[in-house]
Structures are given as C-alpha cells and as structure tokens.
C-alpha cells in the first residue's frame, strides 16, 4: 500500500457516488417516470399552447383553460389495456366531482397521441364508453403533428410501438394548474390512492 491508495480510492468513491447521486436525484428515483414526477413537483412546468379538436369536432386551444385547473391523460382509442383503466379512473373522478355538488374544481381532458387513427368518430365512441361529456370532459386530438410533438415533449410522455400495432405508454394523470403549468403527476396504477389524492386536491 502506498500513499496513493487512499487518494485513488477517495477519488473513485467520490466521483462514482456523485454520479449515482446525480442520476438518482439524491438516491430518490431510479426510473425516468420517477425523475419526471420529482422535477414537476419541484418546479411546475409551463405548457405550450396547442390547438386541439374534440369529439364533437369543436376546435379549442389548451390556453383556453387558463384560470381553471385541469386533469389530463394521454390515450389512443384502440388501446386494449391501459387507456381503459385511465378512462375508468377519469370516469370515477367525474363521479366524485358530480357527487361533491359544488362547481367542478377541474376540467378533464383526454388527449389522443394517435391522431392518424383517432378521428372524430373514434374519439366520440371512446368518450361515450366512459361517460365523457364535453366541454367538461373532452376527448381530443392535437390539430397537427407539431402540436402533438410539442405536447408529448413538454409533458415528458414517451410513446413506443408495442409490437402488436398499438402503443406502450404511461398511465399517469397530469394535473395542470390555473396558470397553465404542469403542476403534478399522479400515478393511476393505484386507483384508491389516486382518488384520495384527487379528494385532497378538491378540498377548498
């Protein structure tokens, strides 16, 4: 052993642990989804204004929601699995809002990331399946490809082909605050926790 040993070991440990701490946000996350959730909670993210068209063929822009908080999910209507769960979740949130009686604290918006296949009719059928009524709960698709890309980029949504003609995507519900900022990402894989979170948010 030489004097170089403790120096080299300290150097290796310090740089290696620093790199791990950096990548895991201080040993708190290991996944991309976890890191995104933490980043949004720390600093709400201003969203771009994107033009969309809803299930009634009604064009609108994301900025039109300013001043009203909203819950957003990303779906494609042919989805055999996750989007059904997300639809059920938003449906239950809708019931929760209705039951509360007071003016709705959120608007709901389901955005299709598959505008090529999701025409107006497909969006309408998806909405009917879960009891969505516009304008309170819109099922919409971005009006153009650039808008879709900007939305996915700003929300940090990754959509990949699932190898069966569909897509693999996340099952998060996004809370956008009245200032048009992505303020919180709610995991939808625990419905009870999700509803508890929503009830918490609905409290005046």
């Amino acid at each position: 052993m030489t004097r170089g040993f403790p120096i080299l070991l300290a150097l290796v440990l310090a740089s290696g642990l620093a790199a791990l701490a950096f990548e895991t946000e201080g040993f708190r996350v290991a996944t991309t989804a976890g890191a995104r959730q933490l980043a949004v909670a720390r600093a709400p993210r201003l969203l771009p204004d994107v033009r969309l068209v809803d299930q009634d063929g009604e064009p609108f822009s994301l900025a039109a929601y300013r001043g009203r908080p909203m819950l957003i999910d990303f779906i494609y209507t042919r989805c055999p699995t996750l989007c059904g769960v997300l639809g059920d979740d938003l449906g239950r949130i809708e019931q929760l809002i209705d039951a509360a009686g007071a003016p709705a604290p959120f608007d709901l918006l389901s955005i299709s990331f598959d505008p090529q296949n999701d025409d107006r009719e497909a969006l309408r059928l998806y909405g009917e399946r879960f009891g969505a009524k516009p304008p309170h709960w819109r099922i919409a698709a971005p009006a153009d490809a650039a808008g879709l890309a900007a939305l996915l980029q700003s929300f940090g949504v990754v959509v990949i082909p699932d190898g069966l003609g569909g897509f693999a995507h996340d099952d998060a519900i996004y809370l956008v605050d009245g200032q048009g900022r992505l303020a919180r990402i709610l995991e939808a894989d625990e419905p009870n926790q999700l509803l508890a979170d929503i009830s918490e948010l609905m409290r005046p």
Binding site: M1, T2, G4, F5, I7, L8, L9, L11, V12, L13, G16, L17, A19, L20, E23, T24, V29, A30, T31, T32, A33, G34, A35, V158, I160, D162, G163, A168, D170, D189
Partner: protein, 208 residues
C-alpha cells in the same frame, strides 16, 4: 500484447457505435443489457491487456489489492443498470456516447487491471456478490407489474429478466464447478492409463 489486437478492439468499439448496430442492440432491453453493455466492458478489459505492460508503477501501487479499481467497476456498473440511465442512453445520443466511453474506460479497463491484483478470496467475494445480484435483478424485472424503462415494453422487460437469470445460473454453475471440482489443467487422453489416473485432474485456484 500485439498492437494489432488493439486495432481489432478499436474496430469493435466503433462498429458498436455505428447506428445500425447500435440501434439494433438498443431497441431490445435484453440485447442492450446482456450483449451491448458486456461487450463495452469487454472492450475495456481488452485495452487493459495492452495497458498492463505500460502501466505506471505509482498507479499499480495506488491500486492496492485492486480495491480502487473494483470499486470503480461496482459503481460504474450500478450506474448503467439504472433504468433511468438506460432510458437516457436510448433517447439521447450524447448520453449514449458517455456510456460508450465510461463502460470501457472506467469499468472494463479497471476490471482488467485490478482483477489480477486482487487476492483470490477478494475475487470470490466479488463473484459471490455479483451472481445473486444479477439473478435478483432478473427476478425483479420479471415480477415488476409496471415498466421500469420508458423506452422498453413490459414483455421486453420480462425477456431481459429471464436472460439475466439465465446468465446468473450459468455463471453460478461455472463458478460452482471451478470452486468445488477444479479446472482440468492437463486432461489425460491416454486410453492405456488406469481409470483412476484419468479422473486425476489438477486443481487450480478458481477464476484466476
């Protein structure tokens, strides 16, 4: 070491970086984790064979019993096993370049240099930790109901899990045989020899 070998290693390094092969290995989680990452580490181990003869004395002394080197290996492999790091490497070419540089130079190279300096028990300790951990990560990938990587599907994650478990089992078996049976150094091929002599194999230290 023949410098021509080094040329071959550099060619492999470059070939793995060129998009068709890089993309092909990175679109699948099992290929990414069980083929590309080990190959990149292997490139560093190959470089170590070349560097070893030219290694400065002070560095060899500072790497006492290979401890700093093996710590670098453990930390470096832990980093590139993080689902977030894998995602970033797939999505972001600059991050992928960092992976292509750090795995050979900060993991493979220290592994090649430090391994020989480690005492046999130290090597056994590393194997005995690495193999179950690999199996456990594989099991985790199989059991996880959600996708850990944003860029890989759930079925790819399960395949990667099986592949990691398979590698862990194969390594465990090889290590078990080496540790308890030993490695044949000079197998007797002479059919005239008595049976007892055929079975007489020299025992070497495992995984030298």
């Amino acid at each position: 070491m023949n410098p021509r070998w080094l040329l071959g290693i550099a060619a492999l390094w470059l070939a793995l970086w060129i998009p068709p092969l890089r993309r092909a290995l990175e679109t699948d989680m099992a290929l990414h984790m069980a083929v590309q990452l080990p190959l990149l580490i292997g490139i560093g181990v190959g470089i170590a064979a070349f560097v070893r003869e030219r290694e400065p004395r002070w560095f060899a002394d500072a790497d006492w019993l290979g401890i700093p080197g093996i710590v670098a290996v453990v930390l470096g492999t832990s980093f590139w096993m993080l689902p977030r790091a894998l995602d970033q490497a797939v999505a972001d070419p600059p991050v992928d370049l960092v992976k292509f540089l750090t795995l050979p130079l900060l993991v493979g190279l220290p592994l090649g240099l430090s391994w020989r300096r480690m005492p046999p028990l130290g090597r056994a300790f590393i194997w005995a930790n690495f193999i179950p951990k690999l199996g456990a990560i594989g099991g985790l990938y199989l059991a996880a109901p959600v996708r850990l990587c944003a860029y890989y599907r759930l079925d790819q994650q399960a395949t990667a899990g099986w592949v990691l478990i398979g590698i862990a089992v194969a390594l465990g078996l090889a290590w078990f045989i080496a540790a308890f049976v030993g490695r044949p150094v000079r197998p007797h091929r002479d059919p005239e020899l008595p049976r007892a002599a055929i079975g007489n194999i020299a025992i070497e230290r495992p995984f030298n």
